[in-house]
């Protein structure tokens, strides 16, 4: 048995270190460290309530709208306020734009460049894959970066700018959209659809959205050449469905809320039995036995964040959130599985949560959101308000639960005299990359890394890179 340290683990958002115990050429156990702590929750304490809308999004440069949405939802819960319907549609559109921009960034900039590594030089597919996906130099970036920038023009219209917008308010959004702007939004979304159809899927989105089983996927991909199909071929050759396997339940808070049910349903799914469970938010608690944090109440509505850098058993600034005592995996795979997407359900039945299914779920979700954005923009009622004027209550507690690109994001807020008395944030990667809890139970990535073959490469093992990046971690959000 030998221990190796992998870091700085890059092409993730933020700072990440992974320690691996290697036995017989495979990972025997893993320890995941968030090596950065900035203290956002401490900074928010004592501030005027609405300052959360300015400060919380600045936790992260790529999940900024998600943080805004969670803060606005938490404040809304305190105030007992319903946002303007147009505001909900506009916020959902901007939020979806951020989330699919993040999915694209993950696929093309963070994840795929590992297949262009020298390690794979002998593989039959190496030359075309390296030409297309090499970090910074691959042919794909000339298509992807302009498409991503064009997509984010949605923010210029709906939110002023990205990242860090104050357009997302408890009462709705701050810019009422006119007819010309609706047409511009539809043109941007149409360009994005064209990009997906031409570059990612090599087929119409309708055809992609109709895929309902692993068999249908295999039939469909035959003879196509989009980047999704290229990934599926790599996944076959490298058996990416056999690494990064997770056994933790999947969880989703439900995504893109409105007056009716959310676009993607909330819930919990046990991947070993494929049984759906109801999500009970009250059973969420954070364990700090291995975090450099002082002990206190575990429930986020009652806890505070106080660092303890010298804690003997600590190895991460991240707390360990648990749902009814269990670690859970969050992200696009969880969202699509819990929403019952037939292709994702079928893939899960066959091979469970793994590197391949996480990536497939992200791209299927991207296709679904391109469709949803178009329908939301068409549903704006242009003569009606986008923002209600809030009547402030300024006392009490509330929870804001949203789905960021990387999974479930919650803000727990308590106000007293219109000031923030308590603010607690549990981010998606806090769930996925949590350290062990008091019972010694490892977090989802720590579990998923066990068994990963590292061969002679040790710290340079490319399989470890695939497994870690398959979760699309956002480390700046993790410990915040």
């Amino acid at each position: 048995m030998r221990r190796i340290t992998v870091g700085p683990f890059n092409r993730v958002e933020g700072d990440l270190e992974v320690k691996l115990d290697i036995d017989n050429g495979a990972v025997a156990s893993a320890q995941v460290t968030a090596p950065l702590y900035r203290g956002f929750e401490q900074i928010l304490e004592g501030r005027p309530a609405l300052d959360a809308l300015t400060l919380a999004p600045r936790i992260c440069g790529i999940c900024s709208v998600s943080q805004s949405m969670a803060a606005a939802a938490a404040l809304r819960a305190v105030e007992g306020l319903a946002p303007a319907e147009n505001g909900t549609l506009a916020a959902n559109t901007a939020h979806a734009a951020e989330n699919v921009a993040d999915h694209l960034t993950h696929f093309y900039i963070f994840f795929m460049p590992d297949f262009a590594r020298d390690f794979y030089r002998e593989r039959s597919w190496y030359v075309p894959i390296a030409e297309r996906f090499t970090a910074m130099r691959g042919a794909c970036v000339a298509e992807v970066l302009p498409a991503r920038a064009r997509l984010l023009e949605i923010m210029g219209i709906l939110a002023g700018k990205w990242p860090h917008s104050l357009a997302f308010q408890p009462g709705g959004t701050t810019r009422a959209i006119d007819l010309g702007e609706r047409m511009r939004l539809l043109a941007i979304i149409a360009d994005f659809r064209t990009f997906l159809e031409r570059v990612v899927f090599d087929d119409t989105l309708d055809a992609v959205l109709a895929l309902d089983s692993a068999e249908a996927l295999d039939r469909w991909r035959d003879g196509r050449s989009g980047d999704f199909i290229r990934f599926l071929a790599l996944a076959d050759d490298l058996a990416l469905d056999s690494i990064g396997r997770g056994s933790a339940p999947l969880m989703s808070y439900g995504a893109y809320h409105g007056d009716a049910a959310p676009l993607f349903a909330a819930g919990v799914l046990d991947v070993t039995t494929m049984m759906r469970e109801t999500l009970h938010i009250g059973t969420i608690a954070e364990d700090v036995s291995h975090a450099w944090m002082q002990s206190g109440p575990g429930a986020p509505a009652l806890s505070e964040t106080r660092p303890d850098p010298e804690k003997p058993d600590g190895y991460s600034w991240s707390k360990a959130p648990r749902l009814a005592g269990r670690p859970v995996e969050v992200g696009a795979l969880a969202r699509q599985a819990i929403d019952g997407h037939p292709l994702i359900i079928d893939l899960l039945r066959r091979s469970g949560a793994n590197v391949k299914t996480r990536v497939v779920a992200r791209l299927i979700e991207t296709a679904r959101l391109a469709d949803a954005m178009e329908s939301w923009v068409k549903a704006f009622r242009l003569r009606e308000p986008f923002c209600h004027r809030p009547t402030r209550r300024a006392e009490g507690a509330g929870v804001g639960l949203v789905e960021a690109a990387r999974g479930s994001l919650g803000h727990w807020i308590e106000l007293s005299g219109d000031r923030i008395r308590r603010y607690q944030i549990i981010a998606p990667t806090t769930w996925n990359f949590s350290p062990r809890d008091a019972g010694g139970v490892p977090g989802p990535l720590e579990q998923a890394l066990v068994g990963t073959p590292v061969g002679a490469e040790g710290a340079a093992s490319v399989a470890v890179q695939h497994v870690v990046r398959s979760f699309d971690p956002c480390m700046v959000c993790t410990a915040h």
């Binding site: 992998v6 870091g7 700085p8 683990f9 890059n10 092409r11 270190e17 460290t33 950065l36 702590y37 900035r38 203290g39 956002f40 401490q42 900074i43 004592g46 501030r47 005027p48 300052d51 300015t54 600045r58 440069g61 960034t105 900039i109 963070f110 460049p113 590992d114 262009a116 090499t134 910074m136 000339a142 970066l145 302009p146 991503r148 920038a149 064009r150 984010l152 023009e153 923010m155 210029g156 219209i157 939110a159 002023g160 700018k161 990205w162 990242p163 860090h164 917008s165 104050l166 357009a167 959004t173 701050t174 810019r175 009422a176 006119d178 242009l382 003569r383 308000p385 004027r389 340079a460």
Partner: protein, 316 residues
């Protein structure tokens, strides 16, 4: 990550245009773990030149000056320590964003991590590298301040440095590049007509000027924000909310960002270089001259009074 939006052909193509070769970037480089630290070691040992060191994020000096709140993964050393090793070796040191420049949001309130900018903490010169620090080419830390900075500010600063086209005289009093910092965020604001007549929005999403009631600091904050497009055509004021002066040191210590602080009914923060008495007198005059159209639209969320030949004429 904002820089990724830059340029018609993408940021990597823009870098190539100006001959900029990224030695290592945490989000986009292939090199990871040992491959990355080998690059850092080559720089420290002098085997590889370092033309520019760019930092995003505050320098966390705590706890107790150790920098433990931000360790560079895999190295057992704090980022504070690495910055002190690498900065003196760089031709230029660039702070990307208000955190790296002035401390930013992590330095707010009790500043729990002892966060600082590279060469400033708030408006105070010093920071992590000290007031006397100069990079090898003799420049102080170049502060591309903003939260987040416009992708163009980042790329144009880098391009100018690559061409040897940015001198100390091109930086303002807080070492921000003058090409964007010699403007006010107010310049080019689409709400200009409302500002002229002091026709003010009273609630969020209304079309009027945001200065009188809704916290806008654009007449005091530097930036060419309303002269260049954010995300294809936006800006904060275009988006319907106040400029919060995110290019200014200490913006994180503001309170109630979307409310205007007032004394005796007059906003505390007035345009930077305008005598207060004149501002008050002109405001009173322009309010009395406000066309009906402008007054009506100021408190509506969409245009209720379009321009018309006599639409603005006030009845005596």
């Amino acid at each position: 990550m904002a820089a990724l939006e830059h340029g018609a052909s993408g940021w990597f193509a823009a870098l190539e245009t100006f001959g900029v070769n990224l030695l290592w970037h945490p989000s986009v480089s292939e090199a990871t773990a040992g491959e990355a630290t080998a690059i850092f070691d080559d720089i420290v040992s002098g085997r590889r030149p370092l033309h520019a060191l760019m930092l995003e994020g505050s320098v966390l000096r705590g706890p107790n000056g150790t920098g433990r709140f931000n360790m560079l993964a895999g190295t057992g050393r704090s980022l504070l320590d690495w910055i002190k090793s690498l900065a003196p070796l760089a031709d230029y040191v660039i702070a990307v964003g208000s955190c790296a420049a002035f401390g930013g949001v992590p330095a707010a309130g009790t500043n729990p991590t002892d966060a600082s900018g590279l060469q400033y903490l708030d408006t105070e010169l010093g920071g992590a590298l000290g007031a006397e620090f100069r990079s090898r080419r003799g420049l102080p830390v170049v502060n591309v301040a903003g939260c987040a900075p416009h992708p163009g500010w980042i790329m144009e600063t880098l391009a100018a440095l690559a061409l040897g086209d940015l001198a100390a005289s091109d930086l303002d009093m807080y070492a921000r590049p003058k090409f964007y910092a010699d403007h006010l965020a107010h310049h080019g604001c689409a709400r200009n007509e409302f500002y002229e007549f002091k026709a003010s929005a009273e609630a969020l999403s209304e079309r009027g000027c945001l200065m009188e009631h809704l916290g806008c600091k654009a007449t005091q904050a530097v930036g060419d924000c309303n002269q260049r497009a954010w995300n294809g055509g936006g800006s904060c004021t275009h988006g319907g909310f106040a400029c919060i002066a995110c290019t200014s040191p200490g913006f994180e210590s503001g309170r109630n960002y979307l409310e205007t602080a007032k004394l005796a009914g007059i906003p505390v923060g007035l345009p930077l270089d305008m005598p207060k008495a004149w501002f008050v007198a002109l405001a009173a005059l322009s309010k009395s001259a406000t066309p009906r159209r402008v007054r009506a639209n100021a408190t509506a969320d969409h245009i209720v009074a379009p321009p018309a030949r006599d639409g603005g004429r006030r009845k005596p």
